[in-house]
Amino acid sequence: MKDLFQLAIQGVKQKGKLTILMIVNLVIGITLLLTMSTMVKLGGNSVLTNKAAQMHHFSLNYMDSDFEIRNQFRYPPLTFQDAQALKNADLEYKHLSFNYDTRFILESELDNARPMIATASASDIDYFSVFIVPFIYGAPWLDTQSDSDVIVIDKKVNDHFFSGENSVGQFIKVDKQSLKIVGVMDLSQHNRRISNMRFSNRYNDLAIVPMATAERMNLPRAGYMPCQTKEETQRGEYRQHNISALKSAECGYLHTWIEFDQQNHQQQLAAATLWARNYTQQQANLGRFPHEEKYKLNDLQLLLNEFAQFMRWEKVYLQFSYLLFAICLVNTVGILLAKYQSKNKLVSLYRALGASRWYIVKIHLIEISLIAFAAIIAGVLFAHLGLELMFQVSMYQMDYSADPSLVKLFFSMDYGFAFTSGAFIYAAILIAGLYPVYRISGISPASQLRG
C-alpha cells in the first residue's frame, strides 16, 4: 500500500504545471458550487425541522368562493368564532397555539433608553413549546396569568433596555401601559418568523404578549387579515380599533398551529381533518364557508419545501454553479488525458516489469484522490469567503435594514452539509477520471518501449 502511495505521489509531482492547473480548475468550480448550494440549503433550514412534519397550520377557509388561493402561504388565519370552536372541539394533540401579528412601541419605565418599535405576537403559552423558544431568564407566564399584564421579551429588547441583565420582575411600557416581564427569550437561532406564515428572514418577534391581554389593550392586528368581500371596507377598523366587532366578523386574524404527538401523528391528524370537514360542512349549511376548499392543514415540512421554491435568485445562481462545475469536470478529463499522454512510456515499462493492469489503475485512482482531496479542502476554505461575500451582497440588497445576526444564519458554513457535498464532489471527480485511467491502464507492456 505504501508503495502505491509513493508511486501516486510521484505521479502528482510529475508534470507539476498540469497538476496545478487541475487543482486550480477544480478549486474554482468547487468553491462556487459549495457557496451557492450551501446558501440554498440554509434557506430551507429551521430549528423546527425535527418536528416539522407534525406541526400543521390549521386553516378554515371562510373566504368567498371566487377567492384565489395564490400559494400555500395564503390560506387564511382563523376567525375568532372558528378559533373558539376549535378550542372547544374534543381533539387529541400535543399543542394548540393561536397567535396574531402585532406591533407596538416599547418604552422603558425609567426613561433611560430610547423607545423601540417592536414586531411582536399576541399568543398563548403553547407558542413557546410549539416554536421551541429557549429562555435565558425566567419562563413563559403561568396559565393563571393568561389575562394579566405580563410580557415575554427577546434578548435584543433586554439588551437595549436592561443592558442584558436579568430583567424578570421588572416592568416595561407597551404603548404606554406597563407590563411585567416574566421571561427573556432568545430567538437568535430562529432564522425565519414562521408563526405568522410570512417566513421572513429579516426580523423575528421581539416580544410575546398573552392573547387576552393583547385584546384588552387592543394591540393592533398588523398581520395578514383577509376578510370576506362584504366586510372588506371594515378591515382598517378591525385592524386598529374595533376588536369586539372583529370577533364576530368574517375576518380571520388568528394564525393557528397544531402539533400532534409523534407516535399517534396519523390518527390525530385524521381526527382533526375529519373535525374540520364536519364543522365546515355544518357551518356551510348556515350560509358560511362558500369556498370549494373549506379547510387546509398544511404541515411545516411542506411549507418549508414550498418556501424553497421562492428562492428563485439563489436557484439561478446554483444552476449556473452546476453548469460551471460540469465544465470543470470535463476539463479535468482533458487535463488528465494530457498528463497521461506523457506517461505512456513509464506505464508501459511498469507493465513490462510485472505490474498488473489493476495495479496501474490503483496508482492512478490514488493520485486522482489526492488531488481531489486537496481541491475539496481548498474549496471548503474558499467557500467561507464566498459565503461572506454573498452575505455582504445580501445585506446591501436589504439596505442594511435587516438584523445582521439573523441574516448571517443563512450564510454560515454548514460543515455537515459541506462534508456530504464533498463526498459527492469526490465521487464525481473519480467518475470523471475513470476514462483517462481506463485508457492509460490499457497500455500494453513494452508497446511504447521500442527504439
Binding site: L21, V24, N25, G29, M116, I117, K176, V316, S321, V393
Partner: protein
Amino acid sequence: MSLKHILKLILKQKSISILIVFQVAITLMIVSNSAFISYATLQNWLIPSNLEEKQILNVVTHVYDEQVDKGQLIERDLAAIRALPEVVSATYSGEENVIDTRRSSNVVYSDNLDENAKDHSIALFGVDQQGVGSLMLNISSGRNFYANEFVTGDAETTPASVALISDDLANTLFEEGSPLGQTVYLNGSKTPYQVVGTFEDKMLGESATYDQVWYHGMVIPEAIYGRNNELNYIIRVAPNTSEKILETLETLFYQESGRIVSRVEFSARAKKRLWDGRSSFAFVMFAISAVALLITSLGIIALVTFSVKMRHKNLGILRALGASKSMVLKSLIVENSLLALVGLVLGFFLSLWLNMALLQTLGVQGTPDIIVGILVTLFVWLLTCFAAYLPARKATLIAPAQVTKAS
C-alpha cells in the same frame, strides 16, 4: 498551414473541438447577460436625477402617544429644526418623502369625467411655506405659491386648490399647450387642483421611477397631519454637511416623548434603495462571469495542451518540412480562433435564450445592447486566444529532430 488542413484537424479531433466550442458558448452566454444586466443597472444609476442628494433629507417619525397634539408638535419640531445652523430650510411633509413613498402610490388625471381616462404615476408632495425651497425646486413657468394658498390642519381640513407640477408632467398631460390654469385631478377621489406653475424636472418619486416616469412630480400647498401616526419632514441642509446632522436631528426629535424616530437619512440613501435588487444581482452575476471566464480559460489551456500532445509527431513533421516556429504558433491560434468563433456564434443564441429565461423567471431586465454585446464577444474571443497562446508557444518548441527517430 492551409485553412483546409486546419479544418480537417478540427474535425479529426472531434471531442476536443466540441469541448472548446461548448465552453466558449456557455461562457459567452453567462458573461454577455451579466454585461447586459450590469449595463442596464449602470444606466439606471446614471439617470440624471437633478437631485441634490446630499442636501435634502427625509425624516420619518411615528407618534404613538394618543395624547400628543400633533399640530403643536409639528410647530415645535419645525422651530427646533430650523434653528440648527446647518439647516437652510425645512418643511412638514404630508404626502411622500423624496424617493420614499410612505403609503401608496399617487396618480393624477387630466380629465375627471372620462371613466377610462389614463392615470399618470406621480411623486406627490404636501408641504408648508418652506416646501418648495426645501425641495430646491426651480420654477420654470408660471409662479410659486402665494402665502395665503397654504392650508394646514388635521384630516378634516379642506384641500388646497392649486398645485405646481414638473415640466415633464406638464408635457405628458398637456403636450404643447400651456399647463398654467389647467386643472389636474388627484387620485381616486379626483380632487381638483389648478396648475399655477411648473418646476424644472427632478427625480423625486419612488413609484414614479418604477413606472419609468422619472420626473413626474406634483407639489401641493397642504400641510395635513393626522391621517395616520406619521409625522414626516423634508429638510434642506447646507452643502457638505457631515453625517453628524443625522444624529443631531434624531436626538432633537427624541426630546419630545411619545414619538419614535423611524428614519433620518439623506435622500441619497433612498435613491440607493431603488436599485438595490438589480445591483445585487449584477454583482453576483459579475462574480459568476469571472468564474466562468477563468474556468474556460483554464479549460482551453488544458484542451489545447492535450491536442498538441496528441499531434506531437505531426507538428515535428511540419517543422521538418519547413514550417517556422511562428507558422506553427499562428496556425494553432487560427485553429483555436475558428473553434472559438463557432462557440461564439452558438453562444450568441444561448445568450438570447438566457436573456429571455432570466426575464421570465426572475423579472430581471437586462436588455441586450449591441455595442456591449460586441465588446463582450471580442473580449471573450481575445481571452480564448490568449489562453491558447500559452500551450501553443510550447508547441513551437517541438524539435523537428524527432522525426528522424525510428517510428
